[in-house]
């Protein structure tokens, strides 16, 4: 067993893995010039393999370089580093005080890698945008959309059926899933779009929809956002609703429309909306006051703060909280950060994060720091003693 464990446990392997990690981190940094950070994180650091183009390392204006290389991704390297670490300790197992420092450090590193893995898999982030005086009980993920079909007929709640954007994008023919209240055929899916007002759209474009807002405004495809500069895609779709007798109408559903459209299918009224993926919460946040102080005579922000009222009937909570920079609200396993605000200071945008693995990096860092201090501290004292001879 030790025979094939030895190379896995060797320092040589550690150095090789660390060097590969450096290349991956560098590539993952350069890639962010042209692609949004989320895309890069998914492709480079949270996947087992990544194709790195050689062009990444050279400015394209100087020389065009074709080709690339298949490279181990963050998942692979992280796993291998963990294995290397565990194996090293199995082979060179020493529980002495001298080794204690490095043992603790390495254990901390293992926790760190696990922590990043847990975050990647389990963390959920969303945004909550609230107008001053208004309230919200859901978070939105503006990296994905859903087509929501809302059935308002029940008396005390709405029955919402959602179709993820990814499903609409890949739809071939009609979607007639039994979970849907009616069939939907995607006439055109636009991952990113621009909206043409009544004065700019041609009659042909306005005729694509038979009903609803699409008869007054039209959507045309736009090049997809790279995610740089925090711009995201604003999708749109022309969808035909189908009931038992056939098509009922074609509608333009797009994130550009801030409110749902009323549709009637099979004698029943529904609301239809293409919106950022929502996650409803059992509590409501009311925005009482948003403050945006700037430095005198500049547009630079001095501080942002949101005075909110947290209302949660399920837990009997109704209190006021001030959320500001570096001072989030922690509630119900989620943390609310002051992220941004609406144009004209009319409202606030909170970042809502649920990360079950949040504590792991803290644990890890404590372990590594303590371990390093022990390890280097010990060496420093021997070192100084030797010098002063």
């Amino acid at each position: 067993m030790t025979k094939w464990l030895k190379p896995i446990a060797s320092l040589r392997f550690t150095v090789v893995l660390l060097s590969l990690s450096m290349v991956l981190v560098l590539a993952g940094t350069l890639a962010q010039v042209n692609h949004g950070v989320w895309t890069v994180v998914d492709d480079y650091f949270r996947s087992p393999l990544v194709y790195i183009k050689f062009q990444l390392f050279f400015p394209s204006t100087i020389q065009k370089i074709p080709g690339g290389i298949l490279f181990p991704g963050g998942l692979t390297l992280g796993l291998l580093l963990m294995i290397n670490l565990l194996a090293a300790h199995l082979v060179r197992f020493r529980f002495t005080w001298k080794r204690a420092g490095s043992l603790i450090t390495h254990f901390g590193v293992i926790v760190l890698i696990i922590g990043e893995f847990v975050t990647g898999v389990a963390a959920k982030e969303g945004k909550m945008a609230i107008f001053e005086g208004g309230s919200s009980n859901f978070t939105e993920d503006n990296r994905s959309v859903e087509l929501a079909i809302i059935d308002p007929s029940p008396t005390d709640h709405d029955r919402v059926t959602v179709i993820p954007g990814s499903k609409l994008a890949g739809a071939r023919g009609a979607l007639t899933d039994p979970r849907l209240p009616f069939g939907i055929r995607v006439e055109q899916w636009m991952p990113n779009s621009q909206i043409l007002g009544p004065m700019q759209a041609t009659p042909d474009q306005l005729a694509r929809a038979t009903d609803g807002l699409g008869t007054q405004m039209a959507a045309t495809p736009a090049p997809q956002a790279t995610g740089v500069d925090n711009k995201n895609d604003l999708p749109a779709a022309y969808v035909t609703l189908l009931d038992d007798s056939g098509p009922v109408g074609t509608y333009l559903a797009t994130v550009w429309f801030t409110q749902p459209q009323t549709v009637t299918v099979g004698g029943k009224q529904y609301y239809l909306q293409l919106r950022f993926t929502r996650s409803y919460k059992p509590y409501t946040i009311h925005l009482i006051d948003f403050k945006h102080d700037k430095f005198v005579g500049t547009e630079m922000a001095r501080n942002y703060s949101s005075l909110v009222r947290l209302e949660d009937p399920s837990r009997n909570v109704d209190r006021q909280v001030l959320i500001y920079m570096n001072h989030p609200l922690r509630y119900a396993g989620e943390t609310f950060y002051q992220a941004s605000f609406m144009e004209g200071d009319t409202g606030t945008v909170l970042q809502v994060v649920r990360n079950p693995g949040w504590m792991l990096p803290y644990v890890s860092c404590t372990l590594v720091t303590v371990g390093m201090l022990m390890h280097f501290g010990l060496r420093l004292t021997t070192f100084v003693r030797r010098q002063n001879r």
Partner: protein, 583 residues
Amino acid sequence: MRIRLLVPIAAVVLALLYLVPQLAPRPTDSQFDLEAFGRIPVSAEGRIKPLDTVARNTLMRFGGKQTIRDDGRKIPAIEWLADLLSHRTSPANPSTTVAASLPIFRIDHPDLLDLLGVTPEQKKNRFSFDELFAHRDAITRQAGLAFQVDAKKRGPYQRRIVGLYDTLSRYIALSRYDTPYAVPPLTANEQWRPLGEMLMDGSAGSDEAAASLTAIFNAYAAQNSGEFNDAVADYLRLVRADLPGATRKAGYETLFNRMTPFYHASALYVYAFLLSSFAFMLTSLSKPDWARALGRGAIAVLVLAFFIHTIGIISRIYLQGRPPVTNLYSSAVFIGWICVMLGFVIEKLFRLGIGTIAAAAIGFVTLVIAHNLSSGGDTMEMMQAVLDSNFWLSTHVVCITIGYSATFLAGFLGITYILLGVLTPVLKPDRAKALARMIYGVICFAALMSFVGTVLGGIWADQSWGRFWGWDPKENGAALIVIWLLIILHARWGEMVRERGVAVLAVAGNIVTSWSWFGTNMLGVGLHSYGFTDSAVFWMLTFATSQLAIMALGMLPIALWRSTGVRAINQRSPTPRVATTSA
């Protein structure tokens, strides 16, 4: 015996002979008390600062210097500002003002010069406002076109024309009193206000401060020195009564501007470097007494330089009310400071003179880098809301900066090892060993500080927006340094490299650190879009190439190294594997 004492004293005396005259107040033949005028506090870019700072920063922005040369005379920034704000008519040309006819703008780009109708033969790169304003239609049109393009995608010409338009707008805003916000809040519930607005809406007459400021400008325009000096003194009295803290700080900042501590510190670092290098040479030439004496002289001068450097940093902390590192400029100043301190420690431990050399060299270089970073404007700029936390600024940022310093120091020592080892015979075995131990020790320290600093950054991010690690360029840059230092340590522990290898890898650490410090900032500006025309990119690439060249030198077969001492250590046969985790 005597040289032990005399030489260091002589060295310090020489240093003081240079320093004292520089720091003494300059006699001026002007009857106008411009020094007091410079102390007037105003609010600009969100910070309360003296007019002296506004003047210096503006001239730096426009022309890269804090003074103007006109007819052989050097005009100080504050005098120029007085001319501008008073709209003093030019005696030579009554249809314009003095300020508008001074050549304060520096333009080098050939296409811009073309736009202004300047031919290469004219060799003209300084312009007055009047000269530029004459072309304003063309400038506005070109700038308008450039503004349509997304800021990150603009070509070099477009960036510069936008910059020129911005510069002209700034000048105009100054002369219209739209900036800085000169009128102080003398009663409760008031804010700093721009004088221009008050003049336009007529409220200037009824505001004591505004009227007083106007009187100052009028007096200067009329070139009435008595009235001017009185008006300035009155105004300062007025403001001091209601805003004593701001006035005091503005006064100190004016003094600080004049003293230029970092400039003098860097001059002294050069001096210390020469002394310590000379001392090192003498050791090799077997003149131990003189070598030691010069060495002590070098340390004495270094202490003096460090003292001035420290005063500069403390002054900035006082003036800003913030921990020492808040932007790129202050990080450069701080890196130098830490490296000098570490240099002292190394010198104390090893007493080889190398610590002093390293301290002086790095101190000088970092202050030069800092100076080059100061051309953009106010180095004590305000910080955005997200970064505005004294706790994290003093822990995370300081730690990371110390990590940078240590890595650079290790890199410098590595360069010393390679250059001395390959090119000279002075690296005897004991020296080589000591130097190698220095490098190793500093790397350990760097690894610890870099790791702790990076972790603190993660915790700050987690507290701020819920994400411990976001893989963004700056974070990745810090991670790269940590990983690289770990590679060096593990490679050494696994006996994959020896002293020479560690030295070479330490030099590579310089490239990794400069990437993290500077390179990540340049990504957003479109490193891909213009390649080599921006000077910062040029310098970074030059630096990286130089380090690679030294590394290549270091990779020469040991047999070719001139210092025989190095050979012995690096050619030892590997020790039998007993404990392979650490050496």
